[in-house]
Symmetry: C2
Subunit: 136 residues, 2 copies
């Protein structure tokens, strides 16, 4: 996998636009910016990577998902480089008669077996994944 | 740090929109999507995190940067979870009379001391950072 990031605008900002095989992501550490900074994007990438695998597994099992949100939080070290020291993700799956067992198994497979982002993280950063199922 | 990601649209896509304290990042694994998928966003986040620190350090040293791009590539394992097994970043700094020693020291500090994203990654994933300086 390859791509390029470029500083834009170059004079004052801390904003990089990335192009990765035709796809784009903007990372911005400028104060008051609208786009996520790299650490925020990392947290969202972990959540999304796991959740996408859950969605794919549950679709294969013909489970009907009508909404899916993940509340995520990460605790960071006080000292530089201020890395994440713990992570928590609360997966709220809304759907019609979603089987809890199927969803739990999907979540377990997603974060233990499939999520490439999680697997690239330090093994000593505890990541807790909690499942909530809502009928609707 | 906290936020939420939501699946949009919910029926067929693999697209999550993240809101982290008012900032946004979109992650999309749908085929042909315009936004980066989580693994691509991770790669860009590592590059941007490092490059932002380089920019901040060099601005403090009154170095004049007129362009900054990072070509990035990551090799992934063949087997699930297909994590990154090696990373390479080529930092191309364009500016007016940028001091190589100052830039090298900034890059070293950025990826060894300051980058929170890199520090959250597995220590056994080799990450090579190369510096190119262009006058202009």
């Amino acid at each position: 996998m390859a791509g390029v990031i470029r500083l834009e605008p170059v004079e004052t900002g801390l904003r990089f636009v990335a192009d990765i095989t035709g796809r784009t992501v903007v990372l911005d550490s400028t104060e008051g910016a609208r786009d996520a900074n790299p650490v925020q994007a990392l947290l969202a990438s972990i959540a999304a990577c796991t959740a996408m695998d859950v969605v794919e597994i549950l679709r294969k099992k013909r489970q009907v998902i009508t909404a899916y949100e993940v509340r995520m939080s990460g605790e960071r070290a006080e000292e530089h480089p201020r890395r994440f020291v713990s992570l928590e993700f609360v997966h709220r799956l809304t759907g019609r008669a979603i089987q809890r067992k199927a969803a739990e198994e999907a979540l377990r497979l997603a974060h233990e077996k499939y999520c490439s982002v999680s697997a690239t993280l330090r093994p000593d950063v505890p990541a807790r994944h909690v499942l909530e199922i809502v009928e609707g």
